[in-house]
């Protein structure tokens, strides 16, 4: 079966393409990209006329999600997480190892990949633990996990505990050609903090997490990346000072990269005061920071300092959120809102063009992880996301594919959404609100 997508704007910065193109998919791969492709034997080709209002781009890649399986299946499973991914326009996700047990061995890695194969939805790339049990003491069997399919290493949820462990992890992961992803925080400065330290934490009487807690750790990792030549990737960067440090380090040629979440480029800590005071769906780590931090992140997104947008999709059961603020779990879901937030807040605001959007949501993270995708070249896997950049979208948490509903964006109206998600040539998500992709449902 062949699939021909016609007449859309194709945005594929990795191939230097931005314009009206037709794309032919055959055998799960891109067979041709051209200004005008004839369907050929009509009976054997499904032709979908997308038209110029839709954008075809390489499948989006979220390099930072929590799928909770094994161990916390009441929050999310690999299957529900992968379903949320395709509904959100992501053809691939990389899942963090803080499951129970921790993904610190090839057997857990293989279990996750088996669940992903059964789901047969978005591609799932496990990220292995840096240390055994993510306890920050001994290195986990990184080479064995790499062979089993891990694409990076991280103790996410916790920082890589000591400078010595980070040094060794960078050296060892360097041998394997993969990055160490660090959740940067100095735990002594975090203390029992539950939100950003500043005026609003003082007003709310909540314990603060200073930006310095992140910045101290980012500076440490930059120094160690310089020492070892390893690749340090800063997870969910939130503070202006951290961003400045990464920008300066990159200018010096140090192998450091970073990612930013949609909630950090959209919201600030002031939101905790109104409209809903103490909303636990605004509790995450790192916390929402100040407007000056948010503006710095936006500038980093624009100028290239930021390498990837990630969701840090962190599903939690309502029971873990319907409690006092300081007792509530950290984290929010993000897979099904990330595209709309990015299109609305980054593209329609005029900050960046669609080319840079695709770089941040697809090509950048695919390159960082060294996985297929991020490009629509002939012979590449047909992982394709079709965007409807002008579609009005009203977020409905109740309709999420994810098992969890912990989002602060419920009922938000945003401009731009996902029209369809194609993985390996198969349309796995087709948005019923976009008529042009109706034909995909029958493909």
């Amino acid at each position: 079966m062949r699939l021909l997508l016609r007449g859309a704007r194709v945005v594929d910065p990795a191939s230097g393409v931005d314009g009206a193109r037709d794309i032919l998919v055959e055998g799960g791969r891109i067979a041709d990209v051209g200004v005008s492709i004839a369907p050929g034997e009509a009976a054997a080709t499904a032709v979908v006329e997308l038209g110029p209002s839709l954008v075809v781009c390489p499948g989006l890649v979220d390099m930072h999600v929590h799928l909770r399986e094994p161990g916390h299946e009441h929050k999310e499973t690999v299957i529900t997480g992968a379903a949320a991914a395709v509904a959100g326009g992501f053809t691939a996700v990389a899942c963090m190892p803080n499951t129970s047990p921790v993904n610190d061995s090839a057997s857990v890695t293989r279990f996750i990949l088996k669940q992903a194969a059964e789901a047969n939805l978005a591609r799932v790339y496990p990220i292995g633990a840096v240390s055994k049990g993510s306890e920050g003491k001994e290195l986990a069997e990184m080479a064995d996990m790499r062979l089993a399919g891990c694409v990076a290493f991280s103790d996410d949820g916790r920082p890589v505990a000591t400078a010595l462990l980070m040094r060794r992890a960078l050296e060892y992961a360097g041998m394997l050609g993969v990055p160490v992803i660090d959740h940067c925080e100095d735990r002594t400065l975090v203390g029992e903090g539950v939100m950003h330290e500043g005026l609003h934490a003082s007003q709310l009487g909540l314990r603060g997490i200073p930006s310095a807690a992140e910045e101290v750790a980012v500076h440490r990792d930059i120094v160690l990346a310089g020492l070892t030549g390893g690749h340090a990737h800063i997870a969910h960067l939130s503070a202006a000072g951290s961003l400045g440090a990464v920008r300066a380090a990159k200018a010096r040629g140090i192998r450091v990269t970073c990612e930013v979440t949609p909630h950090h480029f959209t919201l600030t800590d002031e939101r905790l005061l109104a409209p809903l005071m103490y909303d636990t769906n605004l509790k995450m780590n790192p916390p929402l920071r100040e407007a000056s931090d948010r503006d710095a992140l936006l500038e980093g997104i624009r100028d290239g300092t930021v390498d990837a947008i990630v969701t840090d999709h962190a599903p939690h059961h309502a029971d873990d959120k319907s409690v006092e603020f300081d007792r509530a779990a950290f984290g929010i879901v993000g897979l099904e809102t990330a595209v709309s937030l990015g299109l609305d807040r980054l593209v329609h605001s005029g900050l960046i063009g669609l080319g840079r959007f695709v770089e941040l949501y697809s090509a950048g993270p695919a390159r960082l992880l060294g996985v297929a995708g991020g490009r629509l070249g002939v012979g590449d896997p047909a992982d394709i996301t079709i965007l409807a950049p002008d579609l009005p979208v009203t977020v409905s948490a109740a309709a999420f594919r994810s098992k969890s509903r912990n989002t602060p964006f419920d009922a938000w109206t945003l401009r731009g959404g996902v029209a369809a998600t194609i993985v390996g040539g198969k349309p796995l998500y087709v948005n019923p609100d976009v008529v042009q992709v109706g034909g995909l449902g029958r493909a």
Binding site: G198, A201, S202, G205, L206, Y278, D326
Partner: protein
Amino acid sequence: MSDTATRLRGKDLLGIAGLTAEEITLILDTAEAMKEVSARPIKKVPALRGKTVINLFYEPSTRTRTSFEVAEKRLSADTLSIAIASSSVVKGETLIDTALNLEAMNPDIVVMRHASSGACHLLARTCQAGIVNAGDGMHEHPTQALLDAFTIRERKGRLKGLKVAITGDLLHSRVFRSNAYLLTTMGAEVWACGPPTLMPAGIARLGVRPTTRVEEAVEGADAVMMLRIQLERMQGGFFPSLREYFQVFGMTPARVRLAKPDAIIMHPGPMNRGVEIESEVADGPASVILDQVANGVAVRMAVLYLLAGGSDDETAA
């Protein structure tokens, strides 16, 4: 909004931050009438007859809980108190479940103290009953600030233009936050003094004048208010020792002499004599610490009356 408020806008009193100057004045004026009730031989009015008030205390409290109970009884409310040890909290029930169970009994007012900031807001979103915050974590303690303001106004005749010094653990204090909001809203000048390790981030943007020099805070003050220093703060490394704290920040007679000659000395209690305040100051002629306790009943009667009594009822006094 007119210059004179006749009722509170919300069903709850969660903090001072949401109140206007007119609402604060209304509560203080109402408390004056309530104070007169406490001076009668029969200290009871029927204002809340038939109303049910539940006191839900998740943190130990003697002073505040007793004060609320006395206030409720003097207003003829049916009242009961639930303390943490006798509640189902120890069985692990969530706050929302507790709230829903209480709600099923249809109380008119729930007075709550809780160790988590914002716990009262969670309760207020769950319950139809009016919620009175009797202290939530490090956030607010609105009735304490109201009784402090009542006490100052009683002695000074006004709040506007006064200099009030607040010294102590500003970071962890809900009393500080409520007082800062209330006194600045009413036009007082508030000086906040303590070690820099115990000052909240962005403190100047709360409208107060921060200083680490206690002499500067106290100089020319009309009222000097100490906050309790808790021993565990010292163990948390916020300052080196209680001895040094007293040396640098303790309220001594010499420091009090820097204030106005008629300045009043205040403390929300319980006091640590010899830590934040010297006994000679606490027990001296300028001390209004026990007036604060007495006024607490009147202010809480006023709050309960305004929230549950309604403006249609006959006034209590």
